[in-house]
Amino acid sequence: MSLAISTPGATQQNWLEKLGAGHIILGTALVLYPLVASDFFLTQIGGYSLIFGMLGLSLMLLAGYGGMVSLAQITVAGISAYAIAILGNNNSNVLGFGWPWWLAVPFAVLAAALASALIGWISVRTEGIYTIMITLAIATATYYFAQQNYAIFNGHSGYAGIRAPAFWGISWRDAKPFYYLCLGLAVLSYAAVLYGSRSTFGMTLQAIRDNPRRMRALGYHVTAHKVFAWLLAGVIAGLAGVLLVWFNGRVSPGTIGVDAAIDVLIIAVIGGIRHPIGPFLGALVVVLMQTFAIDIVGAERFNTLIGMVFLVIVFVSPDGILGLWGRIKPHLAQEALRPGP
């Protein structure tokens, strides 16, 4: 009995320690962010970065732990976004079954996860650049199919008038609730990936990435592990897709085009794929650049500036912002050891 009472304190201590100071500071900052940010910075920068961070995270899971670089993550997100539009309500007068959100969202995420597993199942037979090529082919084919199919995807104009639901007395399409919704799901995905990477499955996946032949010889089912990783990445991308369609209020082939697919890859590369925090950093930088570059250099050359910044980041640090941090950190640590003024 006394043991049962005394343990919570001890586990609490352990739990906090395990969480680490960085996570606590970052978490507090993100939770308090709405106190200081305008609605625009909450949704258009904060929410949007978190959504694209989740997309980058699903790619980081595949690329970082599984060694499979996919360009089809936006396609997976697009499938759940289209599923929300088709199963729920839209004002495009095409389909729109009017399902409530609690039914439509699980179905959409499930559809995305299964689609992702299918893409994975097709592409695990390839390696390296061929995985990139085959997922790019799938992304492009889906884009053109959505553009020209009217029965399911409603062609070029896609679906409009999709609204985030209101439940528990909260209208989730308002700026603050929507930000917290994005934050909640992003933290959940982040924690799941972090935890998963240290689980037996995560370790096995990383071992497969490093030496698939040896793992096969040890009796592991390599393909099954890889496809399961795709399924998990599909769940995260699917959740991001739901948020994305609620954020935009609409989905059209432009949402899942090749540009968007490459954006996700850029986010992962800029951020770094060695740790799950990387894609979120990358997303923040990319979203800030895409939003404000036009104010810095004007309408004619702002894409050049965006490209240059990305180039500089990758040039200075081949493993993205994370790598940059890794390089600065030792200096800072030494600084801290010096006697203060």
Binding site: F41, Y144, Q148, G155, H156, S157, G249, T255
Partner: protein, 415 residues
């Protein structure tokens, strides 16, 4: 107390991310948002739109009602998502109370939907010309002083049937709301006159290979109606010529626009003699038009003659500035006075008188044109006829016009 450099860095980043829109307009400047396609397949068109808008600003010497005009630009890539994102940034972050744009059809519909959520901001169209931006389910604060794609076709269907003698015409157009509207405008007249359209091909924006489209054009059509823009038009026309096609062309408003006519290559021979219609004509002799062309040419990188995007953005920006002038540049009441002023605004543009209907859509003159070679070797749209004061229902009574149904790929039809 010692402060970690890391903490300072974190604080700096954090405050940077949260800095609210401190760029509130000072009292002596007025901010106007300018939304156009500065990236993606319509970049050339967007840049010409900007030239048009800046021509209007230059005409007022950069001031309105004693206040300096500050233009804040937003860029989209012609997709509705990006247009709404850019509009949200201009309105919610830069704090503009007046926004001019966007450029293309689906963008216009999306921005109109966004306008409904921002009742205190006044939206004035750029050149987006889908019918349903103003005809069905319009927004109270969205104004269009440039006409729509069906209006632009006024007179062309009749001209093709009666003067040119075309009885059967196939159409090739891009697959989104603006070309639907153009085909609708052409066919409304052409079918009524007794013509037939046995085949309609819809191609995705940015299509490169038109061979299957060309193969699907039925034999024995008298002409092909082409409503493609920019690179799509050049690609189709080149490939059609290479495949040995000889049927004469009828052009949509942006197919034989300056952005296409100035392209290099053999296209010249194919395009000569192509009838078209639109809000502008290059050989318009009216002094007001000539003065506009001269003013336009002062903008950097200008075409020999302004495209309809330059014209549309000019007209809409001019209307915006006239409206602002009327209310003394005062939009502190959420733009209510400005919107009243705009609703009743009627003014002379380089292409004749423009006024608004009850849906805040323009009634204006439309020009029937034919492509000819100018004295300097450049292709030009020669003015054939002016169709005066075309309204959105193309002169058909409104209830009858609404019965024709919403424009889409299958409507109208006269095989």
């Amino acid at each position: 107390m010692r402060m970690h450099r890391r903490t300072v860095l974190a604080l700096a980043v954090f405050t940077g991310l949260t800095a609210p829109s401190m760029a509130l307009a000072a009292d002596d400047t007025i901010k106007i948002g300018l939304l156009a396609t500065f990236e993606g397949p319509f970049t050339v068109l967007g840049e010409d739109g900007e030239r048009g808008a800046m021509t209007a600003v230059a005409e007022m010497n950069g001031t309105v009602a004693g206040k300096k005009i500050e233009i804040v630009k937003g860029s989209s890539d012609a997709s509705p998502d990006s247009a709404v994102r850019a509009a949200r940034k201009l309105v919610e972050q830069d704090g503009v109370k007046v926004l001019v744009g966007p450029l293309s059809g689906d963008e216009g519909i999306a921005v109109k939907d966004y306008a409904k959520t921002q009742p205190n901001v006044t939206f004035i169209n750029g050149t987006s010309a889908a019918q349903d931006t103003t005809l069905r389910n319009p927004a109270e604060n969205f104004f269009r002083f440039s006409t729509d794609g069906a209006q632009w076709m006024a007179g062309l269907g009749t001209y093709a049937f009666k003067d040119k003698g075309y009885k059967k015409v196939a159409t090739v157009a891009e697959d989104y709301s603006f070309p639907y509207t153009q085909v609708f405008g052409f066919m409304a007249e052409f079918c009524k006159a007794g013509g037939h359209v046995p085949s309609k091909s819809w191609v995705p924006i940015g299509n490169k290979d038109f061979s299957s489209v060309i193969a699907a054009i039925p034999e024995g059509v008298d002409a092909i109606y082409v409503a493609l823009g920019g690179a799509d038009a050049v690609n189709f026309l080149t490939q059609y010529q290479q495949s040995g096609g000889t049927a004469p062309l009828i052009g949509g408003s942006i197919t034989v626009d300056q952005t296409v006519l100035t392209s290099k290559g053999k296209l010249k021979d194919v395009l000569k003699g192509t009838p078209s219609a639109g809000p502008t004509a290059d050989t318009n002799d009216a002094p007001a038009w000539k003065a506009f062309v001269e003013a336009y040419k002062k903008q950097p990188g200008a075409f020999p003659s302004p495209s309809l995007f330059a014209h549309g953005y000019y007209v809409d920006m001019k209307a915006t500035l006239l409206g602002l002038d009327k209310v003394g540049g005062d939009v502190s009441d959420g733009g209510k006075k400005l919107r009243e002023a705009l609703s009743s605004l009627s003014f002379d543009t380089p292409t004749g008188k423009v006024s608004l209907d009850k849906n805040r859509n323009a009634i204006a003159d439309i020009f029937l044109t034919e492509v000819t070679e100018g004295s300097d070797g450049n292709l030009l749209n020669k003015l054939v006829k002016v169709v005066p004061q075309v309204n959105q229902t193309l002169g058909i009574p409104e209830d009858e016009f609404m019965k024709l149904g919403a424009v889409n790929r299958d409507n109208p039809s006269c095989p």
